[in-house]
Assembly symmetry: C2
Homo-oligomer: 225 residues x 2
């Protein structure tokens, strides 16, 4: 228990910062605590202590621990999805865009390992309604991946016998699983993993025509570079 003088100092120090800055700090600390302890075991007291606020002051920002989890997972989900959608919508052949999307998704996952882990591991701790809010209506990772596989198949770049939904789930599984094994100080860089994973995924579903077209645009890209 801090004594009165210390309490006063901490409150003043916290209150000197603008509200938005404190909110960002709170989210960052909450992400870290959920990551280390798991959502169930994480306590608002510990989050308050680490951010240097009194527990009671948290209630200026949130109503419950659940509000913090919602904020953490919806932020990382929105950012990741927006990267993936931007890459998907750039000009280029659908198979090429799919490869870029996988690459970008892998790099983003590696670079946001802590919030991504909280998102993938703790999303199920949110009540169903809020989970649905986070995932949004229709604009999901799965639909982006699946849409590109469908487009590429229509263009003859993906084999006829590939089921776009299964292919999307196959690719998402291999990339999402990163959160279970990727180590920022490990032997593989995010870029290396991204290149290899995108390569294996594209080869796994591409038709012969698709692979031939891919060779052409890669050669063209190298020539341009």
């Amino acid at each position: 228990m801090p004594d009165r003088a210390e309490r006063t100092f901490r409150r003043t120090a916290a209150e000197r910062k603008p509200r938005e800055e404190r909110w960002a700090e709170l989210i960052e600390v909450a992400t870290q605590v959920f990551y280390e302890k798991g959502y169930e075991k994480a306590s608002l007291q510990e989050i308050a202590d680490r951010v240097g606020m009194l527990k009671g002051s948290l209630y200026y920002y949130i109503q419950s621990k659940e509000d913090l989890l919602y904020e953490v997972v919806s932020t990382v989900h929105e950012r990741g999805l927006s990267i993936v959608r931007q890459l998907a919508e750039r000009p280029g052949e659908p198979l090429e865009r799919l490869e870029n999307v996988i690459h970008g998704h892998v790099v983003h996952t590696c670079r946001t390992l802590i919030p991504t882990t909280v998102f993938l591991h703790e999303l199920s701790s949110l009540p169903e309604e809020r989970r649905a809010e986070v995932l949004g209506g229709g604009h999901t990772y799965q639909s982006v991946f699946r849409g590109l596989v469908e487009e590429a198949r229509e263009r003859g770049q993906v084999r006829e016998d590939v089921d776009p939904k299964l292919a999307a789930l196959f690719i998402l599984g291999s990339t999402n699983w990163l959160y279970r094994w990727f180590k920022p100080d490990g032997p593989y860089s995010p870029e290396r993993i991204a290149t290899d994973f995108a390569d294996m995924a594209v080869r796994g579903i591409a038709s012969e025509a698709g692979l031939a077209a891919r060779e052409r645009w890669r050669t063209a890209a190298t020539a341009q570079g």
Copy 2:
């Protein structure tokens, strides 16, 4: 709170069963409760209630909730790993065996969805030492997959530029992720998913020679069948 007569009846009924049968029941019920509630939220009281035992009687079998989790995850891990290792050691070309191993792993995952989910989602709730005991020394899924990729690469069936460890992690991710989306009453059967996933994974890493050899042994298998 059950009254005295009901308590007596329940204890007698539980005690009429042989110890091994009660143990198996206890593990089954614990698996289900961990699956539904998550390990942290699951209580020994609820497990005892559902199995029809007094909470105190659980201590004839275990010392803590952790012992139950250990039992659940080590059982499903051992069974799955033994299936995968048996398939890996059968005669045949390494690429062919890899395809069979992926197929078997997918089917097993789909068929043991509830204990597999507890294994994949709650393993991290065990202390590090017991987690290491569950995973065993070296004989892991990853080493089986990686070993087959290496063998196939030495035989020229997998591309030179494929990193066996990254390939193993790619394949394991896509198959393990099943626990997040597979629905036993959904549109895809375990066999359908297994066939498609094994096909995408093998095509993702195979060399041209490997793909040609695969065509030959598939044709031979069809002729034999």
